[in-house]
Structures are given as C-alpha cells and as structure tokens.
Amino acid sequence: MVALVALGTYLPPWGSARGRVAGPDEDALTLGVAAARAALAAAGLASPAGTADLEAVETAAAVGVRRVVFVTRELPLLVGGNAAALLAGIGLAADVAVVEQVGGAPAVLDALAGAAPGTLVVAADAPQAGQPAGAAAALVGPDDTAGPAGWVGVELVGRVVRSLPVHSQAVGEPAIRDYSDARLERERGVGVAVERLELAEKPVVAAGLAAKQAAALCAGSPPALPTLGASSALFAIAALHELGSGGVVLAAEQASATAVRVDGPPAAVRRDEPAPLAPEKVTRTPGPDIAISLPAYERAFDAKLRWEAGRCDACGTLALPPRRRCLACGSEAGWTLAPLPRSGEVYTAVTVHVPVPGMPTPYSLAIVELDGGVDVRALVKVTGARPGSARIGDRGRLVLRRVAVRSGVPDYGYALFPDTPAGSVAGEAATGTTEGAAR
C-alpha cells in the first residue's frame, strides 16, 4: 500500500463544460507542471500564486520528492528530453529521478500503486483535436506515516493487460488511426478486461471511459471526469474527495484495465480549474523556423524555467534575467539564483495582431511589476485570457508556458495568467481548494 498525500489537478482555460483544449502555448509538459504545482500546493508545499511565498519552491524541493513519474501519450520531445524542464517547472531539484512514460489511465494507476515513497506521479493529456486536455498529479508520501494533511492508502486490486488496438498510431505516423467499431471496443475491449479483473466490489469511479459506459460499470452514479487519457485516472481519485468516500477506482484503455482500492477520501486536493472560455480563433502564418541559440538556451535555463532572478552577492538587488553587473550597485562579484514572486501587476501591455511567422496571432505582451516589493519587472506573454483583455493595472500570476517552438525545440518560460475579473486569484476553480486533515 502507498500513502497518497495530496492531489492536484489542472484544466486549460479554453474549451467548454464538455471538454477543455490546450492553449497554443500549452503542451503535456506545461499541463503536467501546473497539476504538479497544484499537488504540492495541496500538500502545503508550494503556492501556485506564490504571492508572499518566496520560499515555496525551496520547500517543495526539501519535502523529499525523490522521483517523478510523468505519464502521457504526448511527450513534447521524443529525443532531447523533457525531464529537466519538468523538474524546473515544478520546482524540484535537478537530482530528482524522472521517468518519462508513454501511457494512458491504467498506466497511471499502475505507477501510483507501485510507487516508491517520495514519488510524484504526473499525468497529462494534450491530445490531438477532439479529445479533452487536462492534467493531474499525485504525491506519494516519503513514508507511510508522513503527510501534513494526512494520507489515504492506495492498493492494487487487479490488472489485465491485453491488446485490441482500435485506436493506434505507429511511430512516424502523423495521426491516430481509428478502427471505428465502438461495439467491438466496448464488448471485447473494456468489457472483457473488466470481466477478467473479477472485482469483488463495483468501482465507484471509472477513468478512461465515456460517461455512459462508466455508469454501467460503477456502483451508483459515478462522477463525470474531464479527460479520458492518462490524467483521467488521477481525476478519478480526486473525485473521491467530493464523493466523501473511498472505494475501488477503475482505469481502462482499449482492452486493458487496472483497478486500485483507495481506503478513504483524499483530504488534500487542489484544483486549478479556471472556468472555460471559448477557444480563441488564431491565425497561423507559415514561415522559416524560429532560430534558437542553444548556448543562450543553456545559460538561461535555470532562471527562465524556475522563475528565479540573480541576487547580487554584494547588495542583494534582484535582476531578471541574471546579469554580471548589478543593476543597483555595479558589483561584478557574482550573483546567486533566488526565487521570484509568481504574481504581479501589469505596468504596460500591447496586443500583436499583425501576422507573425511561426506564432499564432493575435497575442498580448505585458510588462509585469512583480509583487512582494522585489522591484523586478518581467516582459512576458499573456496566457489564459482573450488577447487585448489584460489592461494596465490588472493583476495575475506567472505560470510556465511553451513560449515558442524554436527550430523544433519547445522554449519554455513564464506567462501572465490574468486574474479573472470576479475572482481574487486566476485559475482557482469555483469549487475552490480544499485542504484538511483526514486522520
């Protein structure tokens, strides 16, 4: 049995109640990072808003996360590696092991039920058109007694691994092929897999299945889940929080299935699920690859992906980006990376409408005065809001996004996610955050 300490979820702000779509600046990695930070926040280890919480990132690193298992079918890079960007975005140290795994919902329950202490399971779906996007993450305690908000046990009930590839995509193929036989999939795929699990009790939630099929397999009326892929398995466990009970959780994919038993409602769940906006119509202008300098990429990487400034060793002034000569005292003696606040106020903003090769337009750019009296401004893109809607004086938080794809390399950095007009903090779901001790 593993100790599930906290869960975090993230849904992109685009789409509808029927399903979300990733924004043009989102991929499986940025979705996963958002969910992972929500999970660490639920565990009391990081604040997504980061308002006055400069040490949050360091705390997260210190908590004893020793391994990240990243499960998705949409790894941004197949060659070149996603691990460093994932750790930096989450705020974990560069000596944490990362497993990059291609898989769906059953693979995530397998990863969770078999997780070593101190594992953060991150599951992300950024699928091709037509399938919903989202991400969720689960933190397994460093041992089976720890956890600031208590923990619930997760235990494997059964697993069936079979093959019926009614949806398939071979290496090198541009898109998923569909065999298009729903009844075959339902009866000989999931149907047989669940039968062979020989579950002693009916699941309370089922992941990876359409609502109707999930309802047929579950006891009572199971909660609807926002995704169907890898992340749906953790959305299913998170749903136990609202259900207020434990139970068997089923995850199915084509002809395979895994079931786990969760021995109570998870206490610490943080949902970063902003209300959906209809997707923005964007213009894509073809053009030459956007150039990248890999030496410049490598030099900037830590500050840029960890949202850290250079703090002057002589006078303490922060500089973003870090620079040899201090902006204030002129010292060239050296600097040390220091975390930056993740919220701020728009000093000025503009919106680019003219077509830009390689970038979906329109998009807004803003200079943001960061909170906490740090006297640091950042020039960033705006995300999660209609282009042109962010105004001088508006507030928001800084979140990891794929700022550009440069010659095939995802270039990650931070973007301003404006606070919604009604809410205090952008991206917090109406249902809000619930953290508390379960035991």
Binding site: T285, P286, G287, P288, I290, A291, I292, S293, A296, Y297, R299, A300, K304, L320, P321, L327, Y347, T348, A349, V350, T351, V352, H353, V354, V356, P357, G358, M359, Y363, L365, I367, V376, R377, A378, L379, V380, K381, G388, I392, V403, A404, R406, D411, G413
Partner: protein
Amino acid sequence: MRRVAVVGAGMTAFGEHFGLGIKDLVPMAVSEMATHVDKGLDRADIQAAWFGELTTTDGFPTGILADTCGLLDIPVTRVENACATGNDAVRNAMFAVASGAFDVVLVVGADKVRESSARATFWEWAGLTRDMAWDYPLGLVAPANFALHVARYLHESPATREHLAMVAVKNHRHAVPNPKAQLRYEITVEQALNAPVVVEPFRLFDCTPQSDGAAALLLVGEDVVDRYTDRPVWVRGVGLGLDRVMHQHKRDMTTFPPTVKAARAAYAMAGLGPADIDVAEVHDCFTGVELISYEDLGFAERFGAYKLIEDGTTTVGGSKPVNPSGGLKAKGHPPGATGVAQCVELFEQLRGEAANQVDGARTALAHNIGGPTAVSAVTILSSDRG
C-alpha cells in the same frame, strides 16, 4: 575643434526599390549629393567616408561603398547604431573633420529592407535587437517594442489615440509635395482610427512603411568651405544617448532617456536650446514616438505633447514644424539612411530649397531613436555659423 559644415546633400527616393540593389542605391545617393555641391565636387577631394547601414544585403558594407562609388583609395568606416545609425554616422564624420584629421569627408546612410521575404524579415530584424533567450521568442515585433511605451504613455498622459492619428495625418500631408517620399497621399483622422490594428494601440497608419533607400552628405572643415559653397549649413551640435536595453529595466516608459541625453549633449555643444529650433525632423517610426519625443527634446512640457499636435504648432505653418519631409511615417524608413536623409531635408530647409519649405528656418534638429528604444542620436544644424 574646427567648425564643420554640410556643403552637399542628396538622396534617392525612399520606397520599395525591388528593381535596385544596395549597390545601386548607394552610388545613386552619392552622385545626387555631388550634383548639389554648389561649386562642384572632385571626388578625389574626398579623404574618408562613414557608412551607416543597419543590415547588409549584398555583403561587406564598407567595401560596397568604396567599390560602387569609385572611392577605393580612402578609409571607409561602417557605423551601426540601430535606428540611430544615420545621425551617429554624421556625428562620427563630424568629429573626424572637427579634429583636423580630414578636410572633406563623405557620410552615406543606406538600407534595403525589402530585400528578403516579408516572412523572413521579422525574425531577421528581431535578432539584431533582442536577447536571444529571454526576449526573442516572445514575438516582440518592431511596433510592439514601441507600443509598450506608447500604451503606458496614453495611460498616464492626456493624449489619446486621436492624437496619434493627428500625427499620422500631419506627416502624410507633409509628404505630398516631397518627391522623395514613399507615401505621398493624405489621410483623415477617421481613416487612421479605423485602419486595421497592427499592434494595439497602433493601427496601420500609425506605422512607418518598410523602405529601401540611401542618402549622402558632404562634410567639410571651415577652412575649405568656400571651395564648395557660399551657403553652407553648419553642424552645430551632435549628441548620442543610451539606456538599458531590456524593456523590463526601463523604469519610466513614458519617456525615452536616450533622447533626453542625446539632445542635452547636442544643445550644449551648439549653445542652443529647444526654443531656438525652427524646424525638426523627429523619429516618428510610430506616431506615438513623435509625441513622446516632443517632450524629450524639450519642445513640450511633460505630458503636454498633445497640445502641439492639437493646435498645429508642429504643422508646417505652425511655430515649430516637425517632419516637413513627411517623416519616417510617410517619407519612409530605411534605417541606416533615415538619419542622414533627415539631414538632407534640413540642409534644404536651411538653404530655402525644400519641397515643403518652412519659412525663414535658420536652425534645425534631427533626431533618431532605436535599439529599439535604447539609443538616440541628435544633430543640430544651422545656417548661422555660431
């Protein structure tokens, strides 16, 4: 230092010169300059040249100037200082003559923007001015660099988008009689306000076109002026100013400190002030930049620029006409050529020969800002020797 005078000036028309390469435009401008030297120019008199060019389209810039203009026996120095290149080339040449090192020197500015595909141009030019890791991937197109300033300026000052439109209307009107201008047609405030958005708050008519062109000046020392003309235009002051290069490090974005510094230096050298300027060519790559520059150059009090455009002060016929040539907005903007071409216009203004003549102009100012907003160059010219 010796006094230095401009005794000849010429330029190509600005426009989309698809049929002409940089190797055509440069000698065209130099030859036109030579024909405007009142008492004639023997090219063998030219002792050195400064060539302002921001990007090179056909290879090695100084070699191209020497080769295409028949000046193979003199030193040629390239000046590149973003959009302040042209007036900085004037500045460097001026010091070379003032020092006594040379008596007769050539200044050329040129650029050929419409030489690569429109799709490639943006990223090529962004690479010249942006931090490769931090800013470049943001898609900070040229208008966005200035729009970040102007958006804040419109927020803090009483100026509105209508005032931006009025700058465009004025400069388009000024360009109509100028045979060298790229956009020789009038527009209305309504047209400007309703044009397609480029980068909010800039619409199409708030923006300079993309241009090709070249301009040339002949600068000589006071001892030899009489050999070339009886009506010299004196270079009274030059100045260059810089600022932090990244927008996030500029504390007050409603002003351009490089302009303030460059103007201060040029006014001090000339022993003149803003009130002495009869006509100015001001860097109006985007309309709002002209407004902010009125304040930085001392023509208006802080946040008072809108009054000058509202009451016609800066229109030809007003008390301080700005951009009688049409400015970058309507004359065009091949960056390396722009500052030199401003001085060509002012040379003609101060000799009473301009297409859109400002009556009785005796002292004039040329101004560039670039990098995108981290460098400025200012040149003060006068028909008074001083």
